[in-house]
C-alpha cells in the first residue's frame, strides 16, 4: 500500500518537474522514487497485509515480483538518460508514464479481486500505448501505438466479457470466493467455463502467447527501443505474476479443464516464435520473437501448477529481464552508431573494437538461449523440473527441442559479433549506460552461479 502510494506520488511529482523544465533533477528524482518504493516494498517482506477492503493483498509473492519490476524499471530509467539526451522536451513525461505503468503492474501482482485486476491491466496498458507512440514524428512509432491500442482494447474487452460471465455464475469478484464457489458447486454452468476461456485469452494476449501474439513483433519493432525493453520486461513480469496468481488460486481445482488449452498454446507459441525468429534480419524483431518464445517457456510454469511453479516463474522472469535490458541497451548504442540500422549485419565485427559491448551482449544472448553459468540456464531448468514434476514429460521434451532451435538464432548474432568482419569503430559508451549494462551482466552471471538464493525466496 505504501509502495503503491509512493510510486504514484513520485510519478505525479515528475509531471510537475516537467513544468519547471529543469532537466537535471528529472533522472535523480525518478531514481530516488524507484529506490524509495523499492525500500517500502522490501519492508513488506514477511509482513503480509491486505488493503482496499481486501481487494488487494501484499504477500511475499507480490513483494518479490514487485521488487523485480522495480529493478527492471530502474535499469530502463537509467538507460533513458542517454536515450533521450537529444530530445529537447517531455523526458520527465516519459519517466512519469513509466512509473504509472509500474503502478498498474503493482496492482495486478497483488490483486485479489477482479476489479483490481481490470484496473491494474488498464493502468498498465494505457501509459504503454502512449509510450509506444512517444516518438511522435516516426511513422512506425505511431503505427505501433495504434496497433497496440486496438488489439489491446480488443483483448481487454474479451477479458471483461470473461469476467462478467464468471461473475454471472459465481456472483463475486473476490478470488477466494470464486475458488469456494468452484469447490462447492457440483455442476458448474457453461457460462463459467466460457468465462474462464475468455479470461485465459485476455491474459494470453498480455503475455504474448500464440495465437494471440500478433501484436508483439510489430509493436516491439515500431516502438522506441528503450520502450520496447520496458514493455518486454515489466509487462511480462507483471503479466505472468497475475496470470499465475489467478489460475493457481481461483481456477486451480478445475485445472483439468483449462490445462489442455494451455498445452496447445504452449506448443503453438514455441513453434511459431522459434521458427519465425530463425529468418529475422532485424535484431529488434528477433528479440521480439525471442520474447514470445520465452512466454511459451513461462507458460510451462503455469501449466505445471505445483509448488515449484511460483519460484520458477519468478526466477525466469527476473533472469529474462536481466538479459533483455542489456541486450536492448547494446542494440540502442549500435543502432545509433549505424544510422538506425538494426539488422544483424550491423553487429558484424563488434567484438573487435567494442569488446565490452560484445561481452555484455553475449552474456545476455547466452542467458536467453539457456546456456549454463548464466541465469537463463537455471530459469529453463527450474521451469522444466516443475513441468516434469507435474507429469508433462512430452511437453518438456518438446520445449527442450524448441530451446535447442532457439540457440541457433542467438548464435547467428554471436557469430556476427565475434567471427565476422565489419567496419567497426569504437562506440562511445556513456558512463551511466555502461554501469547499468555491467551491473545487469554481473547479476545475470551471479544468478547463474548461485541460483539457490533466488529460488528459495518463493
Amino acid at each position: 500500500m505504501a509502495a503503491l502510494i509512493s510510486i504514484a506520488v513520485f510519478g505525479i511529482a515528475l509531471l510537475y518537474i516537467e513544468l519547471t523544465n529543469s532537466k537535471k533533477i528529472q533522472l535523480p528524482l525518478a531514481v530516488v522514487g524507484l529506490l524509495v518504493t523499492l525500500g517500502l516494498t522490501v519492508m513488506q517482506w514477511n509482513h503480509p497485509s491486505s488493503s482496499f477492503n481486501n481487494m488487494a493483498v501484499t504477500d511475499n509473492y507480490s513483494v518479490a515480483f514487485n521488487a523485480s519490476i522495480l529493478l527492471s524499471t530502474m535499469f530502463v530509467v537509467l538507460l533513458s538518460a542517454y536515450y533521450y539526451e537529444d530530445v529537447k522536451q517531455h523526458v520527465a513525461e516519459i519517466m512519469a508514464l513509466m512509473l504509472f505503468t509500474v503502478f498498474g503492474a503493482f496492482l495486478i501482482t497483488s490483486f485479489s479481486n477482479m476489479i483490481m485486476l481490470f484496473l491494474g491491466i488498464e493502468t498498465l496498458s494505457i501509459p504503454l500505448y502512449v509510450l509506444a507512440g512517444s516518438k511522435k514524428f516516426s511513422l512506425r512509432s505511431n503505427e505501433a501505438s495504434f496497433k497496440y491500442f486496438l488489439m489491446g482494447a480488443f483483448a481487454s474487452a474479451i477479458l471483461l466479457l470473461g469476467i462478467t460471465l464468471v461473475y454471472g455464475a459465481s456472483a463475486t469478484f473476490q478470488l477466494s470466493a470464486i475458488s469456494d464457489y468452484v469447490n462447492n458447486t457440483k455442476q458448474l454452468p457453461g457460462i463459467f467455463y466460457m468465462g474462464i476461456i475468455l479470461i485465459l485469452v485476455g491474459f494470453s494476449f498480455k503475455v504474448a502467447a500464440a495465437p494471440f501474439h500478433f501484436w508483439t513483433p510489430d509493436v516491439y519493432e515500431g516502438s522506441p527501443t528503450l520502450i520496447t525493453a520496458f514493455m518486454a520486461t515489466v509487462v511480462k513480469i507483471a503479466g505472468f505474476a497475475a496470470f499465475y496468481r489467478l489460475f493457481s488460486s481461483a481456477f486451480s481445482s478445475i485445472a483439468t479443464f483449462w490445462e489442455p488449452l494451455l498445452w496447445g498454446m504452449i506448443i503453438l507459441t514455441l513453434l511459431i516464435s522459434n521458427f519465425a525468429a530463425l529468418l529475422q534480419k532485424g535484431v529488434k524483431r528477433l528479440l521480439a520473437y525471442s520474447s514470445i518464445s520465452h512466454a511459451g517457456f513461462l507458460l510451462l510454469g503455469i501449466i505445471a501448477l505445483n509448488k515449484l511453479s511460483a519460484g520458477g516463474i519468478f526466477y525466469y522472469t527476473l533472469a529474462y529481464s536481466l538479459a533483455t535490458i542489456p541486450a536492448f541497451g547494446v542494440l540502442i548504442l549500435v543502432k545509433n552508431h549505424r544510422n538506425s540500422d538494426d539488422s544483424i549485419d550491423a553487429f558484424n565485427g563488434l567484438a573487435k573494437k567494442n569488446p565490452l559491448l560484445a561481452i555484455v551482449m553475449s552474456v545476455a544472448l547466452l542467458s536467453m538461449a539457456g546456456i549454463p553459468i548464466t541465469a537463463g540456464f537455471f530459469a529453463k531448468y527450474y521451469i522444466f523440473v516443475a513441468a516434469i514434476d507435474s507429469g508433462y514429460i512430452l511437453l518438456t521434451i518438446f520445449a527442450v527441442l524448441a530451446a535447442v532451435l532457439g540457440v541457433f538464432y542467438y548464435f547467428r548474432l554471436l557469430n556476427a559479433m565475434f567471427l565476422k568482419e565489419g567496419e567497426a569503430e569504437k562506440i562511445k559508451i556513456p558512463v551511466v549506460f555502461g554501469i547499468s549494462l555491467l551491473i545487469t551482466t554481473i547479476l545475470t552471471l551471479a544468478m547463474g552461479v548461485f541460483p539457490d538464493y533466488i529460488i528459495k525466496l518463493l
Partner: protein, 629 residues
C-alpha cells in the same frame, strides 16, 4: 587439505582468463602467455598433490547449488583416481601446449585473446572432469564446446574457418541434445543426477533394463558428437582450421576425449546395458577403420592427424564397448601424449614453412629441423604401436580384449592399425625424407623452432616414449598399475581375470609387430627409396624382397589395393556419404526449419484486421473444445 586444494584447481585458469581478457590492452603478448601457462601449471602441481594423497573417492562439497522440491543438486567435486588421471592429463598436456603457444602465437596480434580462450577452455575442462554430478559435467561439456567454437574460428577473417566453426557447433548440438535428454530421463528415473546417488541406485537394477538402456543410448549420442564418432565425426577434420596448438589441446588430447571420460565415468550404467555396449563396439570399430582408411590419402598434414584422431578415438570406443574401461582410459592418456606431440610437431613444421600444410610441398626436413624430426619419429612409432613406445601397450591391450571377446574384432582392429601405421609413416617420410619440394623462398626461411616450442616437444616425446610403462602388462611381469589405480572409479568385469592364455597373447603381439614392421618397410620403399632413387628399379634383388621391391608389383599393388579403390572409395563413395548423406541430413534439418520459418512469417502480415480475425477464430476453436468436453 583436499577440500582446500580441490576448489582452487579450476579457479586458477578462470583467474587467468579474467586477467588476460581484461588486461588485453595492457599486458604484452609474451607476458600474457606466461600468465596463462602459470595458471595451468599451478593446478598441475595441485593435481599431483591429490594424486599422492587420494586413493579412494572423496567428494568435496562447495555449496548448495540447486534445491527445487525433492531434487537436490549440490555443487560438488568428485576427487577419485579417474578424475585425478584426467586432471593430470588436462593440466599436464595443457601446460606444455600453453608454453608452446607462447612461441607459436607470438606473432599473432590477437595472442592475448587466444590465451584467454585457452585458459577458459582449461577451466571448463576441469569442471567437466571434476564435477560430482551430471549437471556440472554438462556445464563443462557446453563450456568446452563454446571455447572450441571460438578457437576454431579464431582466425575469423577466413570464411571457410568460420564455416568450420559453425559445423562443429551444429554437430555438437545434436550430440548435446541427446546428452541433455539422457540427463533429464535420468533425473526422472533415479530422482537425482549426482554420481553418489545414481550409481548405487543403479546397483539394484537388472542388467538390460530398458530405462537404463535408453539413458545410456542418449548419453552415448552426446559422446558420439563430442568424441567425433560415426556419424557425427565430420566436424573434427574441419576443426583443423583453428591454430595448431588448439588442434593439439582441444581436438586431440583433451576435449574430444570428454565423451570417453563420460562413458567411463558412467561405467556402472553402461555395464548394465549390453545393447548399448554392443552399439558402441560397432560404432567404435567402424570409426577406427573408416577414419584410418580416409587418412591414407590425405595430403594436408593436419587432416591426416585429424582422421588419425578420429580413428584412435574409435579404438577407445571399442574398448568402452567391450567393458574394458581402464584400457580406454589408458589409451586416452597415451594418446594425449603422442597425438599432442604429433600436432605440435606438425605445428613446428608449419612454423618453419610459413604455414605450409601440404605434405607434397615438404620433404627432406630432417636435417633442418632435427629436434622436430626426432620427437616426431618417437610419436609416429608410438601411434603405430611399435614396442616399447607407449602406443604399443595401450593399443595392444585394447586389441587383446577384442580378441578375447571375438577374434574377428581383433582382425578388423588390426586392419585399422595397419592403416594407421602406413599413413603415419607415409606422412613421416614425405615430410622429413627426400628432397625439399617447396618453393626456394620457403627453403631459405626454414629454421628450427625456438626453445620455447622445442622443449614441450621434448618433454612430450619422453612421455610418449615412457607412457606405456604406466600400465606395464602382466605378461611381461608388470603389475598393470594404471588399471589397478583406476579400480575404485570404474565398473570392471576384467579385474582379476586372465582373459586369454599368455602364449596366445604373445603370439598376437609378435604377429602384430611383425606386420607393422613390414608396413613400415613398405612405406619406406614407396616413399623414400622409390622417391629418391628411381634408377634402382632395375637393380637385381632376391626373393620376397625382390617381389616387394619390384616396381610393377608395388605400383600395381599400391595402385590396385590402395590408390584405385581408395581413390574411388574416398573420393566417390566416402566423400559422397560425407557430403550427401551426412551433410544432407544436417542441411535438410536446417532447410525444413527455414521453410517452416518462412511460412510462419507469412502470418505476420502487418494487417491489424487479419490479426484480430485470427484471434477471434482461435477463441472460436476454444469454444469448440468447450463443447467437446
Amino acid at each position: 587439505m583436499i577440500q582446500k586444494i580441490a576448489w582452487m584447481i579450476p579457479l586458477f585458469p578462470l583467474l587467468g582468463f579474467i586477467i588476460n581478457s581484461f588486461g588485453r590492452k595492457i599486458i604484452s603478448r609474451n607476458m600474457s602467455g606466461i600468465i596463462a601457462s602459470l595458471m595451468v601449471f599451478i593446478p598441475l602441481i595441485f593435481a599431483f598433490d591429490l594424486f599422492f594423497s587420494v586413493t579412494d573417492k572423496v567428494t568435496v562439497h562447495l555449496f548448495n547449488w540447486i534445491s527445487a522440491g525433492v531434487i537436490n543438486i549440490p555443487f560438488e567435486f568428485l576427487i577419485d583416481p579417474l578424475s585425478i588421471t584426467m586432471m593430470l592429463v588436462v593440466t599436464g598436456v595443457g601446460f606444455l601446449i600453453h608454453v608452446y603457444s607462447i612461441g607459436y602465437m607470438g606473432h599473432d596480434e590477437h595472442a592475448n585473446t587466444f590465451f584467454a580462450y585457452l585458459n577458459l577452455f582449461i577451466f571448463f575442462m576441469l569442471l567437466l572432469v571434476m564435477g560430482a554430478n551430471y549437471l556440472i559435467l554438462f556445464i563443462g561439456w557446453e563450456g568446452v564446446g563454446l571455447c572450441s567454437y571460438l578457437l576454431i574460428g579464431f582466425w575469423y577473417k577466413n570464411t571457410e574457418y568460420n564455416n568450420a566453426a559453425r559445423k562443429a557447433f551444429v554437430m555438437n548440438r545434436i550430440g548435446d541434445l541427446g546428452f541433455l535428454l539422457g540427463i533429464i530421463l535420468m533425473l526422472f528415473a533415479f530422482g537425482s543426477v549426482n554420481f553418489k546417488d545414481v550409481f548405487p541406485a543403479a546397483g539394484s537394477v537388472q542388467s538390460g533394463n530398458v530405462t537404463v538402456t535408453i539413458i545410456t543410448l542418449l548419453l552415448m549420442i552426446g559422446a558420439l558428437g563430442k568424441s567425433a564418432q560415426i556419424p557425427l565425426y565430420t566436424w573434427l577434420p574441419d576443426a583443423m582450421a583453428g591454430p595448431t596448438p588448439v588442434s593439439a589441446l582441444i581436438h586431440a588430447a583433451t576435449m574430444v576425449t570428454a565423451g570417453i571420460y563420460m562413458i567411463a565415468r558412467s561405467s556402472i550404467l553402461y555395464s548394465l546395458a549390453p545393447i548399448t555396449s554392443g552399439v558402441i563396439v560397432v560404432i567404435g570399430l567402424a570409426t577406427a577403420v573408416f577414419a584410418a582408411s580416409i587418412g591414407l590419402l590425405q595430403n594436408d598434414i593436419k587432416k591426416v592427424l585429424a582422421y588419425s584422431t578420429v580413428s584412435q578415438l574409435g579404438y577407445m570406443f571399442l574398448a568402452l564397448g567391450l567393458g574394458a574401461y581402464s584400457s580406454a582410459m589408458f589409451h586416452v592418456t597415451t594418446h594425449a601424449f603422442f597425438k599432442a606431440l604429433l600436432f605440435l610437431g606438425a605445428g613446428s613444421v608449419m612454423h618453419a614453412l610459413n604455414n605450409g600444410q601440404d605434405i607434397r610441398g615438404m620433404g627432406g626436413l630432417r636435417k633442418k629441423l632435427p629436434i622436430t624430426f626426432i620427437t616426431f619419429l618417437i610419436a609416429t612409432l608410438a601411434i603405430s604401436g611399435i614396442p616399447p613406445f607407449s602406443g604399443f601397450f595401450s593399443k595392444d591391450e585394447i586389441l587383446a580384449k577384442a580378441f578375447a571377446s571375438n577374434p574377428s574384432l581383433w582382425v578388423v582392429g588390426m586392419i585399422g592399425a595397419l592403416f594407421t601405421c602406413f599413413y603415419m609413416f607415409r606422412l613421416f617420410y614425405l615430410v622429413f625424407y627426400g628432397k625439399f619440394r617447396g618453393t626456394s623462398e620457403q627453403e631459405a626461411h626454414v629454421h628450427e623452432s625456438p626453445l620455447v616450442m622445442t622443449i614441450p616437444l621434448i618433454v612430450l616425446a619422453v612421455l610418449a616414449f615412457l607412457g606405456g610403462f604406466l600400465n606395464f602388462p602382466a605378461i611381461f611381469g608388470g603389475k598393470e598399475s594404471f588399471a589397478e589405480y583406476l579400480k575404485p572409479s570404474l565398473a570392471g568385469q576384467y579385474y582379476g581375470k586372465e582373459l586369454i592364455p599368455h602364449q596366445t597373447e604373445l603370439l598376437l603381439m609378435a604377429s602384430s609387430v611383425i606386420i607393422l614392421l613390414a608396413v613400415i618397410f613398405i612405406a619406406w620403399q614407396v616413399f623414400v627409396k622409390r622417391g629418391t632413387v628411381p634408377a634402382d628399379e632395375t637393380t637385381e634383388r632376391k626373393g620376397l624382397v625382390k617381389l616387394v621391391y619390384n616396381k610393377y608389383f608395388i605400383d600395381e599393388l599400391y595402385n590396385s589395393i590402395f590408390v584405385k579403390p581408395y581413390n574411388f572409395l574416398s573420393e566417390k563413395v566416402f566423400s559422397w556419404i560425407d557430403r550427401v548423406v551426412i551433410d544432407g541430413i544436417v542441411n535438410s534439418f536446417g532447410e525444413i526449419s527455414i521453410i517452416c520459418g518462412r511460412s510462419v512469417r507469412k502470418l505476420q502480415n502487418g494487417n491489424t484486421s487479419f490479426y484480430l480475425f485470427v484471434m477471434a477464430w482461435a477463441i472460436v476453436a476454444m469454444f469448440i473444445y468447450l463443447m467437446l468436453v
